[in-house]
């Protein structure tokens, strides 16, 4: 059984994947380097189309890379596939299990593929789906299906878990209950690699996050570190009355306590260290220029701000910034 460098679950370097079709050539993954440590929950964060799924499917051994090196649990897919399959668990972005099989039967099926693993009832208990054990998969809600998908990934008692957008499309309560499942797994020492385009998910679950855009890692670190790079912990968001021209970004940056300023369609966002210092100065300056406020709010900095700062785009929608 191959064992890798101590403490490293996944390592890849120079990863590239090029999709060639008649009409276009797309570099979905474009020189991506990554190292996931054993026992951590690692998040690939990026907007739709950033190359997250392509990356995770290459790491899962489901897609061959165009070039680059991949090492998973110290093994390589071309040499140790059988062994690796026994040691990892996977939840794809979307799998529709057989509708006419019960939850328990589906888990029994997946359990039978592994040499060792959890009793199916235990895997069900991990995702709090015991009471649905006898129900047909076709009768489950979206959140329950997603938890079943995670249970199927867990039933082989994997050392390493891959989850591709595990909570996309779920209601807030289902998302929260799935987060609990994942937190409990990490507490048991399992390594988790997940992709998400939800900021809050990455912030709450992940020890470290790689922000991915256009097939590359553009920032890497713990959510706290990434946020700290913005130079402030708070954001002041405001908009001026319609028709007002306002100030330039440089003018805002000149205000006391402001470490960053951005103007876009929705208004102005200032990254600040101390709101109680910046706010009076801002109001005083706007008053002097005879600019009236339409709204103003302060909040904590999030990974969303990090992403916008790095790319000039929001994560969810791909609206380009209007900032010059």
């Amino acid at each position: 059984m191959p064992t890798g460098a101590k403490g490293v679950a996944i390592r890849c370097s120079g990863l590239r994947k090029r999709f060639v079709s008649r009409s276009s050539t797309v570099d979905a993954v474009d020189g991506l380097d990554l190292e996931v440590r054993s026992g951590e929950c690692f998040g690939l964060l990026g907007p739709n189309g950033a190359g997250k799924t392509t990356t995770i499917e290459i790491l899962e051994g489901l897609l061959p890379p165009t070039s680059g090196e991949v090492e998973v649990l110290g093994g390589r897919w071309d040499a140790h596939a059988d062994d690796l399959r026994q040691r990892i668990g996977i939840s794809l972005q979307e799998t529709r299990f057989a509708e006419k099989l019960s939850v328990r039967e589906t888990l029994d099926l997946f359990r039978s593929f592994y040499r060792s693993g959890l009793p199916p009832e235990e895997a069900l208990a991990l995702v709090s789906l015991q009471e649905k054990s006898g129900a047909w998969v076709g009768k489950l809600s979206g959140g329950q299906r997603q938890r079943l998908a995670v249970a199927c990934a867990l039933v082989g008692d994997p050392e390493l878990l891959f989850l591709d957008e595990p909570t996309t499309g779920l209601d807030p309560q289902s998302r929260r209950s799935l987060w609990e499942v994942l937190r409990a797994l990490r507490a048991r020492g399992r390594t988790i690699l997940l992709t998400t385009h939800y900021m809050d998910e990455a912030e709450r679950l992940c020890d470290r996050v790689a922000v991915v855009d256009h097939g590359r890692v553009i920032a890497l670190g713990s959510p706290g570190e990434l946020v700290a790079r913005l130079g402030g912990e708070h954001v002041i968001e405001f908009a001026l009355e319609a028709g007002a021209d306002g100030l330039r970004e440089e003018d805002y940056r000149g205000l006391p306590g402001v470490s960053g300023a951005r103007i876009d369609l929705e208004g102005v966002a200032l990254t600040v260290t101390e709101p109680h210092v910046t706010l009076p100065a801002l109001l005083e300056r706007l008053g002097r220029e005879r600019l009236a406020l339409a709204r103003l709010a302060t909040r904590h900095v999030s990974l969303e701000d990090v992403f916008v700062d790095l790319t000039g785009r929001h994560l969810r929608d791909d609206t380009a910034s209007t900032a010059a």
């Binding site: 899962e60 051994g61 489901l62 059988d82 399959r85 026994q86 996977i90 794809l92 979307e94 799998t95 529709r96 299990f97 057989a98 006419k100 099989l101 039967e105 029994d108 099926l109 997946f110 039978s112 593929f113 592994y114 040499r115 009793p119 199916p120 047909w136 199927c152 082989g156």
Partner: protein, 351 residues
């Protein structure tokens, strides 16, 4: 906790999915039997038809005795359904086609009234005259003996049952393998399965195993329905029928796998299956003999797997042939199946 092997759980899953789908059960098991019953009834051998004869009893009969004699002669013959009525009523019944012929007694003989453009009336005239002349004492110079042939084995239903069996084996292989696999691919279930340590051979063998298990009731039901409802007898050994059916099922499962090996959409595989099946529905002798097609087409028709299967099934079921006499067809089916399998595995797309 019970640990079962992946082949068994895969097979079990497939069986459960199948029997929990009432529609699938109907199309696989119910429909062919209904088709056999419907066609068997539509094309059944009819009993010899009665001839309907009206005899006119005139109020002032010139010869009441002759009428009575005529009626008696016809009534005594079970080929006739005779009734007597008044002249006007008889004419009306003839016009409306309720009787085939009207016999009017005349002095010294009878008069036949009928429409010569109606075949049944011409038949009625010949039969009625024959019966009357004999009743009156005619002696035929040539002795005629009759033997009516209506043996099981030569009827349409006998021809049909093996054809339906073959058609069902083809449909089952293509739908039961081809459609199911593409459906699993669309659902990304195939991809999810290969993301586990599952051996791909276990999966394919389980699919094949499920086909063989589904095939057994298919064959049994059709043969049973044929036997109970239409007295279709299996002349050859049941084991030989089973062996040929098994080979057909496996061979068409291979074809199903080939059809499904790359299709990414249900629409694609449905189209492909129709392209594969339609020529065989038409040409391979399900409902009528493939020999009706021109000689120039015969080499192609004889090379189709369903033609081989249908011909082998008919030989075993209707003629009581042994497997050895069918070795060429059996070899052909093996070749079709093996070639499909090899190509399907080479081109197969799991995701």
């Amino acid at each position: 906790m019970s640990r079962t092997g992946p082949f068994r759980t895969l097979l079990l899953s497939r069986l459960r999915e199948f029997y929990r789908e009432p529609e699938a059960i109907f199309w696989v098991y119910g429909f062919p039997v209904l088709l056999a019953i419907g066609l068997g009834i539509a094309f059944r051998e009819r009993p010899p038809e009665e001839v309907r004869v009206d005899v006119v009893v005139a109020a002032a009969a010139p010869d009441a005795g002759a009428t009575a004699a005529a009626l008696k002669a016809l009534e005594g013959d079970r080929r006739f359904r005779a009734r007597s009525c008044a002249g006007e009523e008889c004419a009306q019944r003839l016009r409306l086609g309720r009787t085939d012929i009207v016999v009017v007694a005349r002095a010294g003989g009878v008069e036949f009234r009928f429409d010569p453009t109606r075949p049944e009336s011409i038949l009625a005239r010949a039969r009625a005259e024959d019966a009357l002349q004999r009743a009156a004492g005619r002696i035929d110079p040539v002795a005629v003996a009759e033997r009516q042939v209506e043996e099981p084995g030569s009827r349409y239903i006998d021809f049909l049952i093996p054809g339906l069996l073959g058609m069902n084996l083809m449909g089952g292989g293509l739908w039961g393998i081809g459609f199911v696999i593409v459906d699993m691919r669309v659902r990304k279930l195939l991809k999810r399965l290969v993301a586990t340590p599952m051996r791909r051979s276990d999966f394919l063998l389980a699919m094949m195993g499920s086909r063989i298990l589904f095939m057994l009731p298919e064959v049994a039901l059709l043969l049973l329905a044929g036997s109970l409802l239409f007295q279709v007898r299996v002349q050859g050994s049941l084991l030989a029928v089973l062996a040929v059916s098994l080979l057909g099922a496996v061979s068409f499962a291979g074809l199903g796998l080939l059809v499904a090996c790359r299709a990414q959409k249900i629409e694609t595989v449905s189209g492909l299956m129709n392209v594969v099946m339609l020529p065989m529905w038409l040409l391979s002798g399900i409902f009528f003999s493939s020999e009706r097609f021109p000689a120039i087409l015969q080499p192609v028709i004889q090379a189709l797997p369903l033609t081989m299967l249908n011909d082998a099934l008919r030989a075993v079921i209707l003629e009581g042939a042994g497997l050895a006499s069918q070795s060429l067809r059996i070899a052909g089916l093996v070749l079709w199946g093996a070639a499909s399998f090899v190509l399907a595995l080479r081109w197969f797309r799991w995701s």
